[in-house]
Amino acid sequence: MNTVVAGITYRALLGRRRIILLLVLPLGLIALAVLLRLFGETGQRSAMLLMDNFAINTMLPLLGLIAGTGVIAPEIDDGTIIHLLSKPISRPAIVRTKFLVAASLLAVFGAVPTYVAAWLLVSNEDSIATGFAFGALLAGIAYAAVFLLLGVLTRHAVAIGVIYALVWETVVGGFVPGARRFSIQQWAKSIADQISDSAFLKADVTLGFAVPALLIVTVAAVFWAGRRLRSFSLTGDE
């Protein structure tokens, strides 16, 4: 962890208007929870629908995309990354720092609002809030790593990330049962299911698969991104 790299990265992501991008979705989630509560739609079923469809399926991958690519892709795009890369710091160390920044942002803007929204609907009933918050945290960390890697690999990280989040995670994961095993969202639900005692929550993927999968995906993505940045090339205008 390099504090200078982290400081610059936080400023680039949270500075001025950019923080709005990170705030919109979690605020939307909490607003929905407040609305449901106002209309008396509390209870485990509503909580489950909101957590499943909005927090885990929509907010988390999009936040992962914004934070994961945001910690590195814009710098690669405008060339400012050279400021960091032309220093006697190993490139994998730069990647690890940027990953930690993205992961911390997902914890603050993803996991915490997930807990708050669930708590608004069911308080601490059956540990639903804790389960989803924990699932969101671990899945958010994996998303941060995957999208960071994508930001290092390609200049079209955002487009590819959106397609991945929408097509793979939502459509394929929704209709092709086998593909669910390879979906970060499903792993998040497995963890939520494990922690929570609610009868409404049924995960398709076993915990024995989800936890190692999350770990492997995260570590592999950060490792690969570091290797890739070592051979970062400047191709000039010629």
């Binding site: 200078v4 610059i8 050279i82 006697p88 710091i89 090339s233 400047l234 000039g236 010629e238």
Partner: protein, 304 residues
Amino acid sequence: MKIELSQVSRWYGNVVAVNDVTMTIGPGVTGLLGPNGAGKSTLLHMMAGFLAPSGGSVTLDGNTVWKNHHIYRNIGLVPEREGVYGFLTGWQFVLSAARLHGLPDPAQAARKALATVEMEEPKDRRVETYSKGMRQRVKVAAALVHDPPVLLLDEPFNGMDPRQRLQLMGLIRSMGADGKTILFSSHILEEVERVAQHIEVLVAGRHAASGNFREIRRLMTDRPHLFMIRSSDDRKLAAALIRDASAGGITLRPDGLEVQATEFRRFARLLPRVAKEEGVHLHQISPADEDLESVFSYLITRST
């Protein structure tokens, strides 16, 4: 410190950007001269560890540059692209460079570097409010902050006003005199010969010439020059000029004379004298091939 390039080539698919270049950059100021698209940036990126050579080797005092982040203790790089975080102030930017280098007293080093490029006064403004010349100087300050023995600058004078340009030229010269190894690229001969003791010329990816500026200047000025001349009596002027050996050939055109001068300096003195003697008024003298491309293409045909 020495940067050594040994048979370095770089290609992108079928396009060869740098072709079998061997050169050694030692202490002092070296200018990398060549027209746009000659491969200067590609070569400089390979020296800076930001591009892998497709063939050959690039080393800094014997250590491979590619995939070796330790070289940056000894190298300061000023890239051509802006590459400065707009949301940081000049001070924060240079200080961050000092801290990234792990210097014992980063604030002191940043102050010194900013003073070197005369950027103390606007240092607390955000970089995005800077002019292009100021950004360039703040980049130079960040590259100098760890006092590196090697400095690489890609087109450093682009976008600078004449005063800033002179200031940076003076700075580069004095650092070269202190024994630092400095390489900068430029497509402007005048720029290079004012700063560099040594010039490497790159044309179409090939190492076309190498030497001190007098040798390069002579190579460039002693080539045949082509002029367009309009006067009050073209025919009379042509007859008088052709008597001198410095005029290699003259073509009478409806819109003036096209003169091939074999010896540039001699012809430059000859023309006004002859015009005066013959009582011919000169309306216009324009070089017909003075663009760098033709100078460089002459150098290529010479070197092959």
